[in-house]
C-alpha cells in the first residue's frame, strides 16, 4: 500500500517525461513500477510476432516454437533483462531480439517447458494465426534476423493502419479510408486522381486533399509508432531506415 502512492508519484513523474513505452520502461529502470510493467507488457503484446517468426525459423516444429516463445516472454517479463543489454537499449526491436537470442542460447536448456494448454499465458498469443501466417509467408533464404526485422516492420505498419482506420471511423470516413488506403503505398505522382475522383464520385480536388491528408496522417502515425520503440526521438529516421532496409535484398 505504501508503495502505491510512491508508484503513483513515480508514475506521474514518468508521465511528464516519458512519451514512449520504451522510454517508460527504460526510465523505470526495471524498477518494476506499475507503469513500466504496463508499458513493457504493451510492447510485448504488440511485437510478439516477429519473435515468433525468428523462433519458428530456428525450430522445426510449430509446437516447439510456441513453447519457446511463450517461455521467453514469461522469462522476459519476469526477469530484468534491461540491466544486461546496454548497447541495445536505444531501440526496443534490437533489444528484444538480443534478449531472445540470449534466451535461446542460454536459458532454454534450463527452461521449464510449458506444457501446451497448461502454461501461464502471461501474454495472450495467437499461436494459430501465427503459424498460419508463417506457413504462408514466402520462404526467403533470409537470415532469421532479417525475417525478424521484416516481421517487425509489418507489425509496425499493421498498427499504423489500424490507428488510421480507427481515426477515420471516428471522423465518419471509414469508407473513404478504405478507398484511399491503397494510395498510401504509392508514389504521389503515380496516384490516379482523376480515376479515383470518378470512382468515388468526388471532385479531383477533394480527392487530392483527402489523399494528402491521409498520407500526412499516416506518416505522422508511422513516426509515432516507431518512436514508441526508441528512446531518443532523433533516431526515428534511423530506425525507419533500418526497417526499410530489412526489405532490401
Amino acid at each position: 500500500m505504501s508503495t502505491e502512492p510512491a508508484a503513483q508519484t513515480t508514475a506521474t513523474r514518468a508521465d511528464v517525461f516519458a512519451t514512449t513505452h520504451w522510454t517508460v520502461v527504460l526510465t523505470a529502470g526495471g524498477g518494476g513500477s506499475q507503469q513500466a510493467d504496463m508499458a513493457l507488457e504493451e510492447l510485448c503484446r504488440t511485437y510478439w510476432y516477429p519473435l515468433y517468426v525468428y523462433v519458428r525459423r530456428q525450430t522445426p516444429t510449430r509446437e516447439d516454437a510456441e513453447d519457446l516463445t511463450q517461455a521467453f516472454f514469461a522469462r522476459f517479463l519476469e526477469k530484468n533483462y534491461l540491466a544486461g543489454l546496454n548497447s541495445e537499449r536505444g531501440r526496443f526491436r534490437a533489444f528484444l531480439l538480443a534478449a531472445l537470442k540470449h534466451f535461446l542460447a542460454n536459458e532454454w536448456d534450463r527452461a521449464n517447458r510449458q506444457k501446451r494448454g497448461g502454461g501461464v499465458a502471461v501474454v495472450p498469443l495467437d499461436w494459430q494465426n501465427a503459424d498460419t501466417r508463417y506457413q504462408i509467408d514466402p520462404p526467403d533464404n533470409l537470415s532469421p534476423d532479417k525475417l525478424y526485422d521484416r516481421a517487425w516492420a509489418v507489425t509496425v505498419l499493421e498498427r499504423v493502419l489500424a490507428r488510421l482506420r480507427d481515426e477515420s471511423a471516428t471522423e465518419g470516413k471509414a469508407d473513404l479510408f478504405g478507398q484511399l488506403k491503397p494510395y498510401l503505398s504509392v508514389g504521389k505522382s503515380a496516384i490516379p486522381y482523376a480515376q479515383a475522383a470518378d470512382s468515388m464520385k468526388l471532385t479531383e480536388g477533394a480527392v487530392r486533399v483527402a489523399v494528402h491528408r491521409l498520407r500526412g496522417r499516416y506518416r505522422e502515425l508511422l513516426r509515432d509508432e516507431v518512436r514508441q520503440t526508441i528512446s531518443d526521438p532523433a533516431q526515428v529516421e534511423e530506425e525507419m531506415r533500418a526497417l526499410f532496409t530489412a526489405f532490401a535484398d
Binding site: 503505398s185 494528402h212 491528408r213 498520407r215 506518416r219 525507419m240 526489405f247
Partner: protein, 920 residues
C-alpha cells in the same frame, strides 16, 4: 528447415507487389506492400523548393475561381501554386496563389489568415508585390496578387551569372521593400531568391511577405514536419531556427545577407565561408563588410535597419560603379557631357608606334582576319562571320592600345563574346553604308562614318547591337567633320598602301588604320573610365598614352575636310558633265548619220518604188499567120495591137508588081518619092500602124521599127524563148536602139553616141533605108538568120518575136510578146507619136515631136521619149528636146533612163551639160 510455401498444399501463391516486385506478406496490411508503405513513410514528399501538395490543374482552378480567367500555371512557388489570371471586370492581369490545404489545417488558422492577409494588404510599395484579395475556397487559401512579368532571382541566377553591378542594383530595392514592411511591423520571414522577383524593366518586387507566419512556418520544427528531409538551402537566421519566438525584422536582414552573398559568389554562406570579394575580381572589398555584417549570427551585431544596408550598398555602388553601367543611354550622356577630343594626328602617330613596335604580330593578326573576312565575303558565310571577326580584331587592337598583351584568340573572341549583336551590327552597318555610297552626297557621307564605333562598343562594352549603333552615331555626329577627315585619311593611307607593291602595302596600312581607330575609341570612350580609375566590368584600366588635347587642331581639320569634300564634289560633277557631253555629241552624230541613211534609204526606196511601178512583164503571147501577096491578099501585122491589116484595093494595087517588075522589088519599091501617087502606100503604112509584112519566100519585112537579133554571152540565154525575161528584152532592145542610132550617126558622118555596154553580140536585121527622105526603114527578117528577133515598133513597144516553122510557102506563122508596163499615158502618147510622125512639114513635125518628148518625159515614159526623140530630124531641136526630157526624167528620179537619153544627145556641150546635171 524451411517450409516451402510454394508446395501444393498451399493454395495461395505468394503475391508480388506491383510497384516494387517484392513478395507480399500473406494476410497482412490488407494486401499492401510493406516495403512501399515504408518507402512512402520514410521519404519526404517535398523537395527543397517544392510545395507539399500537388497543385490543381488550370481547369480545376478555373472551376474554383469562376470570377477569374485562369490563363496559365506559372509554377510552384515556395508555399503554394501560382497561376496567371485575368480579372475581366478590371481587365488586369493578376497572379493567383493557392496555398496547400494542410496550411489551412490547425487551430485558429482562419483567424490568423485574415489577420495576416489584412496586414499584407497594407503593404503598398513599388518593390512589394501587392495583394489585391485573399480568402479561402474549397479549403484552399488563396491570394490574388499583382502579376510580375519577369523572373525570380533563382531563375535569373540560373540563366546567367549576375554581375556585381547588377547585384548592387537589386539589393537596394530589396532593402527599400524590407524597410517599408518593417516600418509597418511586418516581417517577411522567408526571404530567399525564389521570393525576389525581377520584372522586365529591372524592377525588384518581393513576394510572399508574411506568409511564413501565416502558414505557421515559423519554426524549424514546423518546417521539418512538413518538409521532412533536412538539407534545404536555408536562408533562415539562426534565431529563427533556435528561438523562433524571438524573431524580429532583423531575421529578414540576415536572409538578405544570404541572398546577397549568393548573388555575388553563387554559393551559400555555410560553415566557414570566404568573403565575397575573394572569389571574383569585380567584387569590391567594401561589399565584404556589408555582407558579413548582415550575416552576423547575433541579431544585435547586424544592421539594425534595412535602410542602413541600402545606404551602405549605395555608397559603395556610387563610388565604384562610375564604371559606366551597361546602359548605352547613360554612357552616351556621360561621354557627350564630357565632350571628347579626337586628335587624328596623335592617333595615327600612336598607331604607327604600336604597329612598328610589335610589327609581325599586329601585321599577322590583321592580315589573317582581313583575309578571312574577304574570303568569307565572297560567299554567304561572310554575312555571318564578318561582324564577329571584325569585332574580334577591334578588341585585339583595343587591348593592345591599352598595353595588354592579347593573343590571337582575342581576335577571334568576337564569336564567343557577342556573336549575334556583332553579326547584326555588321550587316546593318554595311547596308546603311552601301546606301550612303549610293547617295554620295553629304548625308550619304555621314552615313559612311556614323557606325564606325558600333563593333568595338559591342565587343568591348557588351552593348546590344542597336544601342551600340545609336551610341556610335551620336558620338560621331558630335564632331563628324573630324571623323570624316579621319576616315578620309585612313582611306588615302590604305589607297597608298594598295598602290604600293601591288597591294602588299595594305598589309602594313590596314593595321595602322585599325590601331589608330582603336586609339580614337579609347580617347573617346575610355575617358569616362579613366577619370575614376575603374574601367568596364570593374577591371583596372591601364593608362594608355594620353591623347594630346589640342583644340586648335580641330579647326584646321575641319577646313581640310571641307576642302577635300568640295574638291571631290567638283571632280565628280565635272567628270560627270564631260561624260554627259561626250554622250550627247555621240548621240547627235549617230542621229545625223541615221537621218542621212534614212534619207538615202528613202530615196532608194522611192526609186525602187518608181521602178517597181514600172514593173515589166510580157503581154500575152500573140500568134499570127501572115499571108503573102502571092497567096492572094497581102496581109500586114500591127504588132502593137496584134491585128492583121489588109490594105484597100487601090493601095494593094500599088503594091502589085507592075508588069515586068520583080516581086522582090517590093522593098526596093520603097524608094517612092513623096509626091508620087504611089506614096499613098507609105502613108497608109504609117497610118495603119502596120509593122510587119510577109513578102513571101520566107521574107518578113519590118517597117520603121528596129529589128535585130542579139546573142548574149554564155551567161545569158537570149536565144531561148521560154527563159527570156522582159528586162532582158528591154535591155536587148536598148542595145539595138543604140546600135541603130550609132549606125545612123555614122552614116551622117558623125561619131556614134556612147552606147550601153553589153556582153552580147548584136546582129541587126538587114536593113534598108529609103533613099528618099521620109521613106520607111525596112528590116528583113528570115528564119534562117534567126528564129528569135527583138524588135521595137514605130510606137516604141519592145518585144520579141519568134518565126515558127511553116509549111505553106505563102504564109508565115509568128508568135510574139510585147514588154508591157502600166502607164495610162502610154497609149495616148503612143498615139500622139503616131500622129506626129506623119506630119509632113519637118518643122511642125519636129516641134510636135519635141512637145511630145517632153510630155512623155513628164509622164516618165522613157521609152516613148526615146522613140519620139528619134523621130525628130532637126538636131538642135532633138538635142533641146532631149535635154528637157532628161531634166524631166531626172526630176522623176528615173536617172538611169535619163542618162541613156542624155547620151543620145549629139551636141557635145549639151550632152555634157545634161550629164553633169545628172551627176549632181
Amino acid at each position: 528447415m524451411n517450409q516451402n510455401a510454394t508446395d501444393s498444399s498451399n493454395p495461395n501463391m505468394p503475391k508480388k507487389c506491383p510497384q516494387c516486385g517484392r513478395s507480399l506478406p500473406a494476410d497482412a496490411l490488407d494486401g499492401l506492400c510493406p516495403a512501399c508503405l515504408l518507402a512512402q513513410g520514410v521519404s519526404a514528399e517535398t523537395g527543397p523548393e517544392g510545395t507539399p501538395f500537388q497543385p490543381p490543374t488550370v481547369e480545376e482552378v478555373a472551376r474554383l475561381f469562376p470570377q477569374l480567367e485562369i490563363q496559365a500555371f506559372i509554377g510552384k512557388g515556395g508555399m503554394g501554386a501560382v497561376y496567371k489570371a485575368r480579372q475581366p471586370e478590371l481587365d488586369r492581369i493578376v497572379a493567383l496563389k493557392i496555398l496547400p490545404p494542410q496550411a489551412a489545417s490547425g487551430p485558429g488558422f482562419a483567424e490568423r489568415f485574415n489577420r495576416e492577409a489584412r496586414a499584407l494588404a497594407r503593404l503598398s510599395h513599388p518593390n512589394i508585390v501587392a495583394v489585391h484579395e485573399f480568402g479561402q475556397v474549397n479549403g484552399l487559401p488563396f491570394f490574388i496578387m499583382e502579376f510580375v512579368d519577369g523572373l525570380n532571382l533563382r531563375q535569373l541566377e540560373r540563366t546567367r551569372k549576375l554581375s556585381a553591378r547588377e547585384a548592387l542594383q537589386i539589393v537596394p530595392q530589396i532593402c527599400e521593400a524590407l524597410q517599408f514592411a518593417h516600418d509597418e511591423g511586418i516581417v517577411h520571414r522567408d526571404i530567399k531568391p525564389e521570393n525576389i522577383l525581377v520584372d522586365k524593366k529591372g524592377r525588384v518586387k518581393i513576394a510572399d511577405f508574411g506568409i511564413a507566419k501565416l502558414m505557421g512556418r515559423e519554426t524549424e520544427a514546423d518546417l521539418t514536419e512538413t518538409k521532412g528531409v533536412i538539407g534545404t538551402p536555408n536562408y533562415m537566421a539562426p534565431e529563427q531556427v533556435e528561438k523562433p519566438e524571438t524573431v524580429d525584422h532583423r531575421a529578414d536582414i540576415f536572409a538578405l545577407g544570404v541572398v546577397f552573398y549568393e548573388m555575388l559568389t553563387g554559393e551559400l554562406p555555410l560553415g566557414k565561408f570566404a568573403p565575397p570579394s575573394s572569389g571574383r575580381v569585380e567584387v569590391d572589398v567594401r561589399l565584404d563588410e556589408v555582407v558579413l555584417r548582415a550575416l552576423e549570427k547575433e541579431p544585435q551585431r547586424r544592421y539594425q535597419q534595412a535602410s542602413q544596408v541600402k545606404t551602405a550598398v549605395e555608397t559603395i555602388a556610387s563610388a565604384a560603379a562610375a564604371a559606366p553601367p551597361p546602359d548605352a543611354e547613360a554612357l552616351a550622356q556621360e561621354i557627350l557631357a564630357r565632350d571628347y577630343v579626337l586628335d587624328i594626328g596623335s592617333c595615327f602617330n600612336r598607331a604607327w608606334t604600336l604597329v612598328s613596335g610589335d610589327f609581325w604580330a599586329t601585321i599577322g593578326v590583321a592580315a589573317l582576319i582581313s583575309l578571312l573576312c574577304s574570303a568569307a565575303s565572297s560567299t554567304l558565310i561572310g554575312i555571318i562571320v564578318n561582324g564577329p571577326l571584325m569585332g574580334g580584331l577591334w578588341l585585339y587592337f583595343l587591348k593592345k592600345s591599352r598595353g595588354e598583351k592579347p593573343g590571337i584568340e582575342t581576335a577571334f573572341s568576337g564569336f564567343s563574346i557577342a556573336f549575334a549583336p556583332l553579326m547584326l551590327a555588321w550587316l546593318v552597318a554595311n547596308l546603311l553604308m552601301f546606301l550612303g555610297f549610293l547617295c554620295l552626297i553629304l548625308p550619304g557621307i555621314y552615313l559612311l562614318i556614323a557606325w564606325k564605333f558600333t563593333l568595338p562598343l559591342i565587343a568591348d562594352k557588351r552593348l546590344e547591337f542597336w544601342p551600340a549603333m545609336e551610341l556610335s552615331r551620336r558620338i560621331v555626329t558630335r564632331h563628324w567633320w573630324k571623323f570624316l577627315a579621319f576616315g578620309l585619311l585612313a582611306f588615302l593611307l590604305n589607297l597608298a598602301g594598295f598602290l604600293v607593291f601591288c597591294g602588299l602595302g595594305l598589309f602594313f596600312t590596314v593595321p595602322i588604320s585599325m590601331a589608330a581607330a582603336a586609339y580614337a575609341y579609347e580617347d573617346i570612350f575610355g575617358v569616362a573610365a579613366r577619370t575614376t580609375g575603374v574601367g568596364p566590368h570593374g577591371t583596372a584600366v591601364l593608362p594608355g598614352a594620353a591623347a594630346n588635347p589640342s583644340g586648335s587642331g580641330s579647326g584646321g581639320w575641319k577646313v581640310a575636310a571641307l576642302i577635300i569634300v568640295t574638291v571631290l564634289l567638283i571632280l565628280a560633277t565635272s567628270i560627270g558633265a564631260i561624260l554627259l557631253a561626250i554622250g550627247i555629241s555621240n548621240m547627235k552624230a549617230r542621229d545625223r548619220a541615221n537621218h542621212e541613211r534614212a534619207v538615202a534609204i528613202q530615196q532608194v526606196e522611192e526609186a525602187r518604188r518608181v521602178a517597181a511601178s514600172r514593173q515589166l512583164a510580157f503581154g500575152p503571147t500573140i500568134e499570127q499567120t501572115i499571108q503573102a501577096r502571092a497567096a492572094g491578099t497581102n496581109q500586114f501585122l500591127d504588132l502593137d495591137t496584134g491585128t492583121l491589116l489588109t490594105p484597100a484595093p487601090e493601095i494593094a494595087s500599088i503594091l502589085a508588081a507592075q508588069p515586068g517588075e520583080d516581086e522582090n522589088r517590093l522593098w526596093q519599091a520603097l524608094d517612092i518619092p513623096t509626091d508620087s501617087s504611089r506614096f499613098r502606100y507609105i502613108a497608109w503604112l504609117r497610118e495603119s500602124g502596120a509593122d510587119l509584112m510577109f513578102a513571101g519566100d520566107g521574107k518578113i519585112i519590118g517597117f520603121d521599127g528596129v529589128f535585130a537579133l542579139a546573142h548574149g554571152d554564155n551567161s545569158t540565154n537570149w536565144n531561148d524563148w521560154d527563159s527570156l525575161s522582159p528586162e532582158q528584152t528591154r535591155e536587148a532592145v536598148n542595145v539595138l536602139d543604140w546600135f541603130r542610132r550609132a549606125t545612123e550617126a555614122r552614116s551622117f558622118g558623125q561619131p556614134a553616141p556612147p552606147g550601153p555596154v553589153t556582153g552580147g553580140i548584136i546582129n541587126s536585121a538587114f536593113q534598108l533605108d529609103s533613099q528618099i527622105g521620109g521613106g520607111p526603114l525596112v528590116n528583113l527578117l528570115t528564119r534562117e538568120q534567126s528564129e528569135l528577133w527583138f524588135f521595137k515598133t514605130r510606137e516604141g513597144a519592145n518585144g520579141v518575136l519568134q518565126i515558127m516553122e511553116s509549111n505553106a510557102p505563102n504564109t508565115v506563122k509568128i508568135r510574139y510578146q510585147l514588154v508591157k508596163s502600166d502607164s495610162p499615158f502610154r497609149e495616148a502618147l503612143a498615139a500622139r507619136l503616131k500622129a506626129a510622125s506623119i506630119i509632113s512639114g519637118n518643122t511642125e513635125r519636129d516641134a510636135a515631136l519635141a512637145r511630145l518628148a517632153r510630155d512623155a518625159a513628164k509622164a516618165g515614159e522613157a521609152e516613148l521619149v526615146k522613140a519620139t526623140l528619134q523621130e525628130i530630124r532637126g538636131t538642135t531641136e532633138r538635142d533641146q528636146a532631149a535635154l528637157d526630157s532628161v531634166r524631166q526624167l531626172a526630176r522623176l528620179g528615173l536617172k538611169l533612163q535619163a542618162v541613156e537619153i542624155a547620151k543620145t544627145i549629139s551636141s557635145n556641150s549639151t550632152r555634157d551639160l545634161a550629164l553633169s546635171e545628172l551627176a549632181r
